[in-house]
């Protein structure tokens, strides 16, 4: 840690807390299960996604993918493609515009966001199987595809490193894991483990996973002159893409506009500034016309990375009473040297449980693969699979109810950060969930419940994801008619951003919901962090809160120019916003409407821009959401088939903005967790590094019949450190799910599966 970082962190710890957000007590729209505001657009086909814009004169691009993992393209025969009908150009390293090499995401600055720092089609080298080696541009989609199939490549292939199994011994410890130390030791965990009366020591494996958002990545780009670039892109972060494009094309950021009004699911896969966006912008520059590059499903598998394969060791030493004396969690994951992303699988273990001694460590092996990237709850999803499975194994060893064990290991302070928790009510989530799920009827003894050919089991696991906030901006424009527009460069991928932010803005401004608009999805709007890491909602809430405060202060100043004002002599702190205006908190009848203030001031509107503060609270406290995942599985004794029969997620995730959209997000995470546990697995050929099941027919995401009724409970306890007391909830739903299923499968069958996905062959 640098001296500066240490200073900031020390200062943060001594900084007094701000008062909890007063709106927590007086919210009106926040907390209501309103329908999403863009629902009508989405059920009528009116919501327009990236590939659906149609600038005049647009042409189509189709990439050509390498078939080797490592080496050089010796000869690229583009003649047949060039003479194919409708073809305008074939882009190869020879004629590709010279570009600046993209920069990997820098977590200190968080402005550029490339997943890989390879040069983009600048030379003949190949770094993964599936890398783009040429791009065809043609008048129609069909012509581009046909011509792309006519490009022939000969290679000088090197022996790439593509097999995880064969290269594990080359593992190295990364310099850091998302800016955190790769290894933490408290006490001597190995020694404590050896002397512990009860021990669990096991290895947990999970495969490569793919986001598989139903909208494939798409870009439409066009240029105005040489230095103005317009891009529609299915990105999770318009601003990060704008900044990255500016870097790569050596342009001023102001000259680039990136728009993404609707994004068809991202789950982390649309954050990393992948090649398709760069290639599309380059193609548009070359042909001087708008270009659409919509990846095929295969294309998504080829050039957009997913979640790394992982092998994790968790070892627990415990007393007979269930106190942990040793907690060891080490993880080995894959990342290519051009991505350098060690998936943070040990992160949950750093913050979850009390232990006498702790050892967490991460290692990576650098393979010649497409860049791995964030996928829903990166780290925490696979990390909780390992640690929550191990805890269940310990409960079995102790013959103790697993929820009782969670009580025994509940910490008073964050074990590695050594701070207080801002808000942690995990045990309450367990208890509410247990009552609702009827957990007490579960039999501790495996194989003790059956229904015909089906063995029935119950499992539980902890869900965990940090509550992150980044500084951001917002613009609020109050019109003379008393309506308002709130603007932020946010992204909507289905989380219900516009709905939740409108509920908040209406309450914050004291306006009826129908008087407020929310504009988003455009890099020209005030800065927002990426829609990722469950940080967007919380960050925009804080930015809007700061901006509305600024607006109210300016309104008060304007109003107090009138000597007869009912707010004469009032200070900002004396005011509340309600009923379309500002009122004295102590004297509810004294106030003035926004319309009146602007009328008296002779202003057609008042517009202010504000920014939220640096997230010092994240340094002072351990801030996270928690949950307890309960499930019932049925395992067919004859076939080994696993069906999830019942699910309950009980969550402690702060104030819930909108229970309807929140429930959907949490259910969605649980559904993805069911896929992770039972059916999903990206298969990589250990010789060629080629992804073999590169389609939705081969990569099995859960279908409707795989998913049971899913009930969701909320503690709904506000976090005093955040705007509205809210937390982001995009990731936490998936965490703990795979472990809960594995634990239930053990309870049903007596078989412990430590190797995801839990397919039937592992149970026979």
């Amino acid at each position: 840690m640098s001296i500066m970082q240490t200073l900031v962190q020390t200062a943060a710890r001594f900084k007094p807390d701000a008062d909890p957000d007063p709106l927590i007590a007086s919210k009106k729209y926040v907390g209501r299960a309103l329908d999403r505001v863009d629902g009508r657009l989405k059920v009528t086909g009116g919501a327009r996604f990236t590939a659906e814009y149609a600038p005049d004169d647009m042409v189509y691009a189709a990439p050509v993918f390498s078939t080797i993992a490592k080496g050089k393209v010796r000869r690229l025969d583009t003649a047949a493609a060039e003479s194919s009908p409708g073809v305008i150009a074939v882009i190869t390293p020879k004629n590709m515009p010279r570009l600046v090499t993209p920069s990997l995401t820098d977590f200190a600055k968080l402005d550029k966001i490339a997943a890989s720092n390879l040069p983009v089609l600048q030379d003949d080298s190949v770094h993964w199987n599936g890398q783009v080696i040429a791009v065809v541009i043609a008048e129609t989609h069909e012509q581009a595809q046909e011509a792309a199939a006519r490009v022939r490549a000969d290679y000088d292939a090197d022996e790439g490193m593509v097999s995880f199994e064969r290269n594990k011994d080359k593992a190295i410890m990364p310099k850091d894991v998302l800016g955190e130390p790769p290894e933490i030791k408290i006490g001597d965990a190995e020694k404590n483990l050896k002397s512990a009366p009860v021990q669990v020591d096991a290895t947990y494996r999970s495969p490569y996973y793919n986001h598989s958002a139903i909208e494939p990545h798409a870009t439409i780009a066009y240029w105005e002159g040489d230095d103005r670039l317009y891009v529609f892109d299915s990105t999770q972060w318009v601003e990060g893409y704008r900044n990255s494009l500016a870097h790569v094309f050596a342009l001023n950021r102001e000259n680039i506009r990136v728009m993404a009004p609707f994004v068809g699911g991202g789950f982390g896969g649309k954050a990393g500034f992948w090649w398709n966006t760069i290639l599309c912008a380059a193609a548009a520059k070359m042909v001087g016309r708008p270009v659409k590059l919509a990846l095929s499903r295969e294309g998504v598998f080829r050039i957009v990375g997913g979640r790394t394969v992982a092998e994790q060791r968790v070892a627990l030493g415990a007393t007979r009473e269930g106190k942990l004396t040793a907690l060891i969690h080490t993880g080995l994951t894959v990342t290519p040297d051009h991505a350098r992303y060690a998936e943070q699988c040990t992160f949950p273990t750093r913050h979850l449980y009390a232990t006498e001694a702790l050892h967490v460590a991460q290692y990576v092996v650098n393979l010649d693969m497409v860049a791995n990237t964030w996928m829903r709850a990166p780290g925490e999803s696979i990390g909780t699979f390992a640690v929550e499975s191990a805890l269940d194994e310990l409960a079995v060893e102790l013959r103790m109810d697993p929820i009782e064990l969670r009580r025994k290991v509940e910490p008073a302070r964050d074990p590695t950060k050594d701070t207080e928790f801002s808000s942690r009510n995990l045990i309450e989530a367990y208890e509410r969930g247990a009552a609702e799920f009827n957990w007490s009827s579960r039999n501790l003894q495996p194989r003790s419940r059956r229904d015909g050919a089906w063995l029935v089991g119950h499992g539980v696991a902890t869900a965990y994801y940090p509550a992150l906030r980044f500084p951001g901006g917002a613009r609020v424009r109050l019109e003379a008619d008393g309506t308002a527009i709130v603007q932020a460069a946010a992204n909507e991928m289905g989380m219900g951003v516009a709905t939740g932010q409108l509920q908040h803005a209406a309450d914050r401004l004291g306006l009826p919901l129908h008087c407020v608009e929310f504009d988003y999805g455009d890099s020209h709007l005030p800065t927002s962090p990426m829609a990722g890491g469950s940080c967007q909602t919380l960050s925009i809430l804080a930015a809007t809160r700061a901006t509305v405060e600024k607006l109210h202060r300016e309104l008060l100043k304007l109003e107090q120019k009138d000597s007869a004002s009912p707010l004469k002599g009032a200070k900002y702190e004396d005011l509340v916003a309600r009923d379309n205006g500002l009122f004295l908190a102590s004297e509810p009848s004294r106030g003035v409407s926004y319309v009146e203030i602007l009328r008296k001031a002779g202003k057609p509107y008042l517009e202010v821009e504000g920014v939220s503060s640096a997230p010092m609270e994240m340094m002072k406290y351990s801030m996270a959401s928690y949950g307890a995942q309960f499930c019932e599985v049925r395992v067919n004794e004859t076939t080994g088939e696993v069906r999830v029969a019942r699910w309950l997620g009980s969550f402690d995730c702060g104030t819930v903005l909108n229970p309807k959209t929140a429930m959907s997000q949490l259910r969605g995470g649980i559904v993805m967790g069911i896929g992770m546990a039972l059916t999903e697995e990206m298969l990589v050929d250990g010789r060629s590094g080629r992804i073999m099941n590169r389609s939705l027919a081969g990569y099995h995401v859960p279908v409707n019949l795989d998913v049971p009724r899913i009930d969701v409970l909320f503690n709904d306890i506000p976090d005093p450190q955040t705007a509205l007391g809210a937390h982001g909830i995009g990731e936490i739903g998936i965490t703990g799910v795979a472990a809960a299923i594995a634990n239930a499968v053990y309870n049903a069958t007596g078989k412990r599966v430590r190797d995801l996905p839990i397919t039937l062959d592992k149970l026979l």
């Binding site: 059920v43 009528t44 327009r48 996604f49 009908p85 699911g265 289905g494 409707n704």
Partner: protein, 203 residues
């Protein structure tokens, strides 16, 4: 394909002006009650004809290989995957896309139920889910059994959640809105049926 459709195709092929080396044909598609002329190569899928030529972008492309269901449209009331269909095969047939599900600007009970039950998040698979559900309910009402129908001989099938889920399992939703989708379809189906029942009684 029926004989008359073949004849229609042949007639159109004969009439069509061949525009250059790519053999484009001028065909007429009946989409949501409108006659839409489009000039395309024979290899153009119905999905791409709708999205890229007619700019009816409500119908979505998720995989282009029949694995996700996002491109589902209705042809003469039956659900098909428009990515696996050639546009020229569907001249003269009644094509309904998501844009045609609302009547005179008011949402169908199914569309409204999807909103009420939050049967989507990002909305990308929603058009396919909706068209698929319309076709599925018709199949169900016609007595077509599914893989989970217990007793095919009994003549009556219970519109259970398992039936709904099985029959909707060709439509992937990666946001995982399956619970809401199932709730919405159950409600819309019972609403339509109580209306039919009600109308019968009042006569």
């Amino acid at each position: 394909m029926t004989h008359s459709q073949n004849a229609e195709l042949e007639r159109q092929a004969a009439e069509s002006s061949v525009a250059g080396p790519d053999n484009r044909l001028r065909i007429t598609l009946m989409v949501n009650g409108d006659r839409r002329e489009v000039e395309i190569e024979p290899r153009v899928s119905l999905l791409d004809a709708l999205r890229e030529r007619l700019h009816l972008t409500g119908t979505k492309k998720g995989c282009d290989q029949g694995a996700c269901g996002a491109c589902t449209v209705l042809v003469n009331g039956e659900r098909i995957l428009s990515c696996l269909a050639l546009a020229i095969q569907y001249t003269g047939q009644e094509i309904t896309t998501v844009e045609g599900l609302a009547l005179d600007g008011s949402l169908s009970p199914l569309q409204q139920a999807f909103i009420t039950h939050d049967g989507f998040q990002c909305g990308y698979c929603t058009s396919g889910q909706l068209c698929s559900a319309v076709g599925m309910m018709r199949e169900f009402d016609d007595g077509v059994p599914s893989a989970v129908t217990a007793d095919v001989a009994s003549g009556t099938i219970d519109f259970s959640d398992t039936e709904i889920k099985e029959r909707m399992s060709g439509n992937l939703c990666r946001c995982g809105a399956y619970v809401g989708i199932c709730d919405a379809i159950r409600e819309a189906h019972s609403e339509v049926h109580s209306e039919v029942h009600h109308a019968g009684e009042s006569r």
